[in-house]
Assembly symmetry: C2
Homo-oligomer: 622 residues x 2
């Protein structure tokens, strides 16, 4: 964490000084706003937290509820989401209060008495092997609290406008604020009053029954499945020994997906309510709680659940639907003004624990693009990449979830190999961890001509961090964890063996970065450029690094000491990033987007290619 560079900070360093529109942010919703976010779920709140890093941009987030969410529905947190929380500054804190999934156990009928269940296998969870971040379970309400804090503590000082309901919108062809949005106050002194707000852009983060989706004429494609599940968050007494372990139970009496929750006592139980009869007409949704509890006891036999408190419960039918478009650009040459995220554009079962995670990545993908376009850092065309990149991800999600749901809902007699759920679970781990997303070449993902220079950083996938040594202090740090969600591009220059080519690259690249960076601010305001040497940190002096990697920052022009790293191992850092990520010993330049996806891989002598890539993705500073 870097601070004090604008002078001594006495208080909490995670509360950044207010800037721009954050300095005197009006309490009331203004008539005009650059960005209007509709809905304060995971996608909307991440987006608000991201936009708070662009204090030149006015952003408001409306939510029809009167205040913060009290009971959340989603609770599964992929390692990729924890990695994202790291960028927003709260991975450590949320991990401390969450349930950590170490294992997934599978239960089936006891061959000797098929009315009883027995444990058939234990599978270690996928988190450890795939990421340095864990796989967690925590209440969605807490995730939103943390994003709310990040939005509030960012320079833009964004807080949700609670008690304001979206009614409809019209996109006009011209004007500075072409989107006209009709809203109504649902709470407070102005309850019932309708207003019109004008925005440059609108993000529809308003869930499965999205009013924004309806207003722009997009439709959900797909069908409700013929399977229903009861779900409950319960405090119980039980003799079931896996009450604190995630498990899938396929009993003669039916199926349970069991998810322990944070805090050591609560668990979420998904109870299979079976095939829904044709013409049921949503009657299954009225299944009483008592019936769900009774069914759970039947499935768990010979174990029992004595339910002491039900924090939340629901019955739903599994649907698998993707919206026919993620923005309002029905024609390819139309500039999008309205975007859909999260459940507004993809809905599916809850049991793979994916929904909140994919929704947050929607918000992360969209946020920096809005910020860059609205601050003149990128061309308008950048915004078209949102739908192009995120719609295929939603389709993958639906496909994965459909397969996982079907596997989970099988009857024991349909299961030939009791291990196959476990096998599927591990084999597909990269997807539910959130790391399988790979964006195709575009204006912000370069071609793969030089992929072989850094095999461990696949183009279009998220930058997989590794440990390095910070030369200035000899500490082991995760290279990727320095990358905060601050809207900046990251450029990692991996040195050649004697760093001669690195020095030449730094000299040639300096004017290139300068051309895209406003002269009046810090020289690293747009590109955060770091060097990684092959040596040990104590085999050279940090002060010998090229000036590009020791930029002056803030009003005192203080040296930033945290851009020079070393790969040689020490007692603190036992990982060599060159070996770990298969980086060429001739060096390589890895360009990473503000949302942490690898955008380009280039040789150290290809500054012209770097220039050409940036020319397509970034606007020169005026």
């Amino acid at each position: 964490m870097q601070f004090h560079h604008h002078g001594y900070v006495s208080g909490d360093p995670t509360v950044l000084p207010a800037e721009g529109v954050g300095l005197e942010r009006p309490v009331d919703l203004p008539d005009e706003t650059d960005v209007l976010i509709v809905g304060s779920g995971p996608a909307g709140m991440l987006l608000a937290a991201q936009m708070s890093q662009f204090p030149e941009v006015t952003t408001r987030i409306i939510e029809k509820r009167e205040g913060r969410l009290v009971l959340g529905q989603a609770d599964g947190i992929q390692p990729r989401s924890v990695e994202t929380f790291q960028a927003f500054g709260f991975a450590g804190r949320i991990t401390a209060e969450a349930y950590n999934i170490g294992w997934m156990n599978f239960w089936g009928p006891d061959p000797e008495n098929r009315a009883n269940i027995i444990r058939t296998s234990r599978t270690e969870d996928y988190g450890l092997k795939i990421s340095e971040f864990p796989h967690l379970i925590v209440n969605q309400a807490r995730v939103l609290d943390y994003f709310a804090e990040a939005a509030q503590h960012g320079p833009g000082r964004i807080t949700p406008d609670y008690g304001v309901e979206f009614l409809g919108l019209t996109v006009h062809d011209d004007g500075e604020y072409p989107v006209e949005v009709r809203v109504r106050y649902t709470a407070g002194e102005r309850a019932g009053e309708e207003r019109t707000i004008r925005a440059k852009y609108v993000a529809g983060c308003d869930g499965a029954r999205s009013g924004v989706r309806e207003a722009i004429g997009r439709t959900h494609v797909g069908a409700m499945a013929a399977h229903a599940w009861g779900v409950m968050d319960v405090l119980v007494n039980t003799d079931f020994p896996d009450w604190r372990t995630k498990c899938a139970i396929n009993a003669e009496a039916g199926n349970i997906l069991h998810i322990p929750r944070e805090g050591g006592y609560l668990s979420r139980v998904y109870v299979d309510l079976g095939e829904v009869a044709e013409g049921d007409n949503r009657q299954v949704r009225h299944t009483p709680l008592e019936a769900v509890i009774a069914k759970a006891n039947e499935i768990l036999h010979p174990y029992t659940l004595e339910v002491k408190e039900v924090a939340w419960h629901s019955v739903y039918e599994v649907g698998h639907r993707v919206t026919d478009g993620f923005d309002d650009a029905f024609d390819a040459d139309r500039h999008p003004r309205v975007f859909l995220t999260g459940d507004a554009c993809h809905t599916h079962s809850a049991k793979a624990g994916q929904g909140m995670n994919v929704s947050m990545q929607d918000g992360f993908n969209l946020g920096w693009k809005l910020g860059h376009v609205l601050t003149g850092r990128a061309p308008d065309s950048l915004l078209s990449t949102y739908a192009a990149e995120r719609r295929p991800v939603a389709q993958q999600l639906i496909d994965f979830d459909r397969e996982w749901s079907s596997l989970m809902a099988r009857k024991p007699e349909e299961i030939s190999d009791p291990q196959d759920l476990a096998t599927y679970y591990l084999a597909t781990a990269e997807f539910p961890s959130g790391f399988m997303t790979q964006y195709p070449p575009s204006m912000i993902i370069a071609g793969d001509a030089h992929q072989d220079l850094a095999v461990g950083f696949p183009l279009g996938k998220r930058f997989k961090s590794a440990e390095v040594t910070r030369v200035a202090d000899g500490n082991a740090v995760h290279l990727g964890h320095h990358a905060k969600a601050d809207g900046r591009w990251r450029v990692y220059a991996f040195a050649d063996a004697d760093a001669a080519r690195l020095a030449a690259w730094a000299e040639a690249a300096t004017p290139v970065f300068a051309r895209f960076t406003p002269a009046e601010g810090d020289s690293d305001a747009v590109f955060d450029v770091k060097a990684i040497y092959q040596q040990r940190f104590d085999e050279f002096e940090v002060t010998d690094a090229p000036a590009l990697f020791l930029p002056k920052t803030g009003p005192y022009d203080l040296t930033d000491w945290e851009k020079v790293y070393a790969a040689g191992t020490t007692i603190w850092c036992t990982m060599d990033i060159f070996a770990e990520r298969e980086i060429s010993r001739d060096g390589a330049v890895v360009v990473v987007r503000p949302d942490q996806y690898v955008a380009a891989i280039l040789p150290l002598d290809a500054v012209d290619e770097l220039d050409a890539f940036l020319e397509g993705a970034v606007l020169p500073a005026s």
Copy 2:
């Protein structure tokens, strides 16, 4: 972190529900209080945070300043302090914002040009080998902020009474509140007004010029040393390559101890101002800042410092003094009513980075004792152990600091072996890490007859945590990190190979613990008893553990699943605590105090000895 057991918690689970005197805590200082803490430094604020866990006890903390500390003086945080922060719930957060000391470098004159300095050695810092917790540098003001939050979020809802100055006190021989304290408001509407407060106990946490010390007639013993140092927290530009590394510089021109600070830019520089002439009469304290900066530049030659901002600076003479007693019990048979902590009873140089740490351990030692005596959990005699235990620690501190300060202040020609500072630094690592404290046998430290059953848990030293697997969920956790600063005793029952003796112990010990535990609350309200099996977690069922280790908790009588652990290694936990801490395979019982010190080690068949030990330290529940 355990929560939800009193029903679903929607918000921040670290904010505990208010209880007892925390429910309607008066804003104004009351006329009577059980505990009055004077001073809101590290010892006082830790004490407040600890007392907030005893909501049956009224505690107030007065501070003559108008509000929170803005600029702190201390900044060195030992691993033992981070371990303590873990117990108070903020180790992760403070570590994230702190500077982590990975290395200490040593500089001396360049043999080829003695006017220049060169690096003579690099020494890895001692933290890694001694503890799982790091060695940090962070502003004292932030440490106080975190303790203030812990005090505020505890059930007692304690907040400091700022703007109230201690004037004097009288200890009467009788009455329920025998200590009469005179105070004056220094700020707010009542500024200037004097009042009398009556307390059962007073903690003097009011620093080196302690008014409480003076009021009880204790005196500082020792002398000012004849050496002066200038200290400054500065933002600079420099070509000195170790600006971000802790270093000791012994140059021809003088000595510097250089401590990088949190945030990546700021450093603290201690500049040796040389011997103080006899009869100087504190004139050295008026050394101008410019002279200190000039001296620093001389010492750093050929490198230079260009100072951009001075956040704080001071000049001081090194003193080494210990108070002649730590409480007001001048006679051995007198019950102490007033206690001294921190700088009020020990002062020394700042350069070993010890002061704040030892002060906090004073507060940690005293807090639970006050809590237990005031809630009737322990006999009054417990309070006499505070001075008996802490005074020798203060003397050790002074001795260490004197030796370290002298080594630091040597002239280069006095240094025969350039490595010897580095050697001393590493050889003595256990002391400055905070782990050398070992309390002698007393009513709360048993004799060492059974030490051989658990060699790695020396009696009287703090319980050194190790990783184990929590059986209920298969997660790797640090056994000691579950021990929060909640005033409870911990009892770790390490099982024999087949757990038969463990089962017998549990049955015999259950009524013993029950005798000391109020019938109306949770059965683990006084003793948090845990079992550690030798097997892997998946070689037995958690539900097979004796009932003592699966107690019912809260209004729903919910099973607490977090008291049964396993030592067998897994992919998540690669450490076997029996091997790591040399625990007998016949089992052992380790009793640990609320301040984390090992109090007793007993065989599994010695329940009578356990009973006898508890009889001396704890009062039976009435």
